[in-house]
């Protein structure tokens, strides 16, 4: 939006959008009302049954496509809304998206009601639980940051289980008391008639923190990882509690009486629901991992397996009344490290994109439908009941969080401060799950319950959702730490893990390092061999991290201006020759190695030219659970070869540069480094004779050049007229047969463009080192 002309255009765009939107909505309404019209064809001739009907040139057949048509219209509406909001920057900074979407839903619902005097029952529980919820949960589970999650699992479970139970009983019990106190036999709905069990049921529905709402709001405020994972983890894991409580109280209401045995059975049922869900998910996850091992020849359907297995996990869990959400999370988390080691880079990208897309649309639809269903439903507004519910929910949440933190802090190294507690309490948003569960109720008091639930949802989403961002700013809560991991930190993380494990062994204390270590060893020894294809299972994290870092450097370096700037973009003048112990360096060797390979001006220009023509944006790493900042990958169609070439050029350039800088300690003669330094001074590609190929990663800055890039050099040389002469030894490199090419190319592609998802933040192992 630099030029005025463009800004003018952009300013009119939102209005255009809104106009389009209004048209669409009206269309939607009219179409839906037309649907009720039974006639399906318009006769062009007279409506005379006896005479021959002329051939209908134009007809309207709506019935057959009505359902998909409507669905598409809704999805389109949701997507257009999303577009619209992000075009109005000021609005999206102040108001979280969820609020806007609910408002839109209200609007649309209102329009539809006016148009047809009836609103389609869009938020039916089947649609919600079977279609809208799974993508969001799968997205969350697949990209769940395992390390913080497992480190804080105790706290999360405490909040999820004990906190939710506390909330349910507190709200349920006290609302019963309020009803009894406020009973009024002359009013339309006598509050005193609401028994204790329906109240408890109501309490259990309203007490669960909702993952969709939490995700929607917390994504925009970028708080630190700890708080995010605490609230989010709690919202995921309390599903088991909610399911159990809901069914429990429903059963009790049917049977009419409660006994001690039932309570114990309830407890057992909770364990079964939670653990069963996780087991089912893990089972499907392992299946998916195993399947992905064999997909090397049919790369196109790899993402499909991921989605299908996950969905099956969810449905299977729902069949047995287990916790579907936990099953989905377990499936995603278990299969991720193995699947990502097996699948191609493109599939990886596809999965990322599809998950983000679906979950995004799902979330939008849920909020819109919430608005629509509000307009639709039958409500009974009872001031006492509703205000009491609201206040009780808030109070229960605060007391619960404070009390639990007090207990938990005894067991935590990093204590939760008051500020943290406030954010956790304030972030307990209710959402559509509560609404759908309320919808499923069969009691007589459904109306009043539903109204109360909707009010609480609206309050939490609107009031708490809107104010949490300024509050976070006000309280100066720690934001997400966007630091770049340096390789030293990575080394020391690993070092520390091993050190602590060792110390635990020495003092005989089997702490969690010990078990983590055991699990990792087991994983490495058995599980990876089964579930990961080929030799990729040997790739340790540190190496993967390092390669990824180098790749990033290479890309960044080329971005910053191509060949000639390489020397200056490296700010320090330290070269590796300086990093050596005083004693060993033979001073005479120094000047020779120091001679930087002088790329002639001409060659530099050529390189820079090539790089500039193929310039592309840096590929950024995906923030695991931020839906809005998925950076668009550059055009992937048809540019593969070009990208590959360009990347290899970058690599080459980088290598040439690095060869001078990474001249390591001059060793005795014949050492690899020595020969490398000698050859590097010719600024040519070379192949170290007899180099044993690095098994899985071809481009390795330390190891000698792989045959691939040498081949490329030649190829590029022919294409682009680059006159780098290859040493004769490279002819030895042309051993790679045509068959291997694909595989190599793919490996190259895999590691060049996205060097292994295992380089993702500690996500490689289930319990990462």
């Amino acid at each position: 939006m630099a030029t005025r002309g463009r800004s003018g255009f952009c300013r009119s765009l939102p209005e255009l959008e809104l106009l389009l939107l209004a048209i669409l909505v009206l269309l939607n309404g009219t179409v839906l009302s037309l649907e009720s019209a039974s006639s399906s064809e318009i006769h062009t001739g007279e409506g005379n049954n006896t005479s021959k009907k002329p051939f209908p040139v134009i007809g309207i057949v709506y019935d057959e496509v009505s359902i998909p048509f409507e669905i598409s219209l809704w999805v389109l509406l949701a997507s257009l809304m999303k577009l619209g909001f992000h075009l109005i920057p000021r609005l999206s900074n102040v108001v979280p998206e969820s609020c806007l979407l609910i408002s839109v839903g209200l609007l649309v619902g209102g329009i539809l009601k006016l148009a047809r005097d009836e609103v389609p029952p869009v938020l039916s529980d089947r649609i919600f639980f079977l279609c809208l919820l799974p993508p969001i949960i799968l997205d969350a589970g697949y990209f769940l940051p395992i390390r913080p999650f497992v480190e804080n699992i105790g706290t999360i479970l405490m909040f999820a289980v004990v906190g939710t139970l506390w909330n349910a009983f507190f709200v349920g019990g006290l609302i019963y008391g309020v009803c009894q106190l406020a009973q009024d036999t002359y009013s339309e709905i006598n509050l005193g008639n609401i028994g204790i069990l329906p109240c408890l049921l109501f309490g259990s529905i309203i007490s669960a923190v909702d993952p969709v709402a939490v995700l929607a709001v917390f994504e925009e405020i970028h708080i630190n990882e700890l708080l995010h994972i605490l609230v989010f983890g709690e919202s995921l894991l309390n599903d088991a509690v909610t399911v159990v409580l809901y069914h429990l109280f429903e059963e009790f209401m049917e049977s009419g009486s409660v006994s001690a045995v039932d309570a114990i059975l309830g407890l057992v049922s909770f364990l079964i629901v939670a653990l069963g869900g996780v087991l089912v998910g893990a089972f499907y996850g392992i299946l998916a991992a195993f399947t992905s091992r064999f997909t090397s020849h049919t790369r196109v359907i790899e993402p499909l397996f991921v989605f299908l297995y996950s969905y099956m996990a969810y449905l299977s869990a729902e069949v047995f009344h287990l916790s579907g959400i936990m099953s989905l999370i377990a499936c995603g988390a278990v299969m991720r490290p193995y699947v990502e080691a097996n699948i191609s880079h493109k599939s990886h990208t596809t999965i990322k994109y599809f998950l983000k897309m679906w979950s995004s649309v799902s979330e939008t639809l849920i909020f819109i439908f919430l608005g629509v269903a509000t307009v639709d439903g039958e409500h009974h507004w009872d001031w006492i009941f509703i205000t009491a519910t609201l206040i009780l929910c808030l109070v229960a949440r605060v007391i619960g969080v404070v009390g639990l933190t007090f207990v938990i802090n005894n067991f935590r190294i990093v204590k939760l401060t008051t500020k943290d507690q406030f954010i956790i309490a304030y972030g307990g948003l209710r959402g559509a799950i509560a609404f759908s569960l309320g919808f499923l109720l069969h009691t007589d008091h459904k109306k009043i319950f539903l109204t109360a639930i909707i009010t609480v949802i609206f309050f939490t989403v609107f009031v708490q959702g809107m104010t949490i961002k300024p509050l976070v700013e006000l309280l100066a809560v720690k934001k997400k730490h966007e630091a770049k991991r340096s390789i030293n930190e990575e080394i020391h993380t690993r070092f520390l893990d091993h050190l602590l494990t060792g110390i635990e062994d020495i003092c005989g204390h089997y702490g969690h390092h010990h078990w983590k270590n055991k699990l990792n060893r087991f994983n490495k020894k058995y599980v990876k061999k089964i579930l990961i294809a080929g030799d990729r299972c040997k790739e340790p994290q540190l190496i993967a991290f390092y390669h990824k870092l180098e790749m990033k450097h290479a890309i960044r370096m080329v971005e910053s201006g191509g060949g000639s700037k390489l020397n200056s973009s490296f700010p320090s003048t330290v070269s590796m020759q300086n990093i050596q112990p005083k004693i060993q360096s033979p001073p005479s060797a120094r000047p020779a190695e120091r001679a930087l390979p002088q790329l002639t001006k001409g060659r530099e220009e050529e390189i820079r030219q090539i790089l500039r023509t193929n310039l592309q944006r840096t590929r950024q790493r995906l923030q695991s659970y931020n839906r809005h900042t998925l950076v668009v990958d550059p055009d992937e169609e048809g540019l593969d070869d070009l990208i590959l070439k360009k990347r290899r050029m970058m690599e080459l350039d980088w290598k040439i540069k690095e060869m001078t800088n990474y001249l390591t300690v001059p060793h005795a003669q014949g050492s690899p480094t020595m020969s490398r330094t000698r050859m590097a001074s010719d600024s040519q590609a070379y192949v170290k004779p007899g180099a044993k190929g690095v098994p899985s990663i071809q481009i390795d800055l330390a190891s000698p050049q792989s045959p691939d890039s040498v081949r490329l050099l030649d190829e590029v040389g022919q294409d682009q007229g680059l006159t780098m002469s290859l040493p004769s030894s490279s002819s030895r490199a042309y051993k790679t047969g045509g068959k291997d090419d694909d595989r190599d190319q793919q490996k190259l592609l895999r590691c060049l463009s996205d060097p292994g998802p295992s380089a993702d933040e500690d996500e490689d192992e289930p319990i990462p080192t």
């Binding site: 802090n409 190294i413 990093v414 204590k415 630091a483 340096s486 390789i487 030293n488 930190e489 080394i491 020391h492 993380t493 070092f495 520390l496 091993h498 050190l499 602590l500 060792g502 110390i503 635990e504 062994d505 020495i506 003092c507 005989g508 204390h509 089997y510 702490g511 010990h514 270590n517 060893r521 040997k538 790739e539 340790p540 540190l542 190496i543 390092y546 180098e550 700010p571 320090s572 003048t573 330290v574 070269s575 590796m576 300086n578 990093i579 050596q580 112990p581 005083k582 800088n661 990474y662 300690v665 690899p672 480094t673 044993k692 690095v694 098994p695 390795d700 800055l701 330390a702 190891s703």
Partner: protein, 218 residues
Amino acid sequence: MGALKSTPDPIEYADLSEKTGYSLKQIRVLHKRFRELSDGDDVLRREHFRCISSLKYNPIRVEIIEAFFNRRNFSPSHQGSADEIGFEEFLVVMSHFRPPSPKITDEQRKNIRREKLQFIFNMHDSDGDGLVTLEDYRHVVEELLSRSGALGKETAKAIADAAMFEVARTVGHKDPNEFYEGITFEHFLKLLSNFDIESRMNIRFLKSDVNPFCQLCC
């Protein structure tokens, strides 16, 4: 440093508790473990450590064992390494892994940080000259990757080189003719300034008793 009496009475414990910050109960537990490791002896030697079976798989076991005998970990002014250590030294080394109490001032936190980082620095610096050279660092990385076989060796070099490079860059060496011999402790501190070591480098003694099944193989 003299070896302690075979059964230190509570007064000695109180002394040690003062010095290292462990509670009396924890000291008792550790003493029990000490005697287990040393076969009833008063002093621990390196062979005793090598007996611990679960330590076998640890890639940096040599460094860990050495750390216990490194005099610099007993007190900052000492040098060299001992051949055998008594319970007091054992406890002092273990005190590096005590979790910090929740309410500490910033000053105290900085000191604790320094202490812990000094411990790690001493582990890297095998010859005790106060500098972690490229060789030392390379050795560290190689050991970390030692379980990856041939793949590890080459890349270990590269990684260590890259890491060293990064250190040099962070520290800001301007003159290319100057030798950068190694990482000093101050550089080390600066390098890991983002690393929250005071909350990570801890062993928690939640259970009051050591695990009876922690085996010694000899």
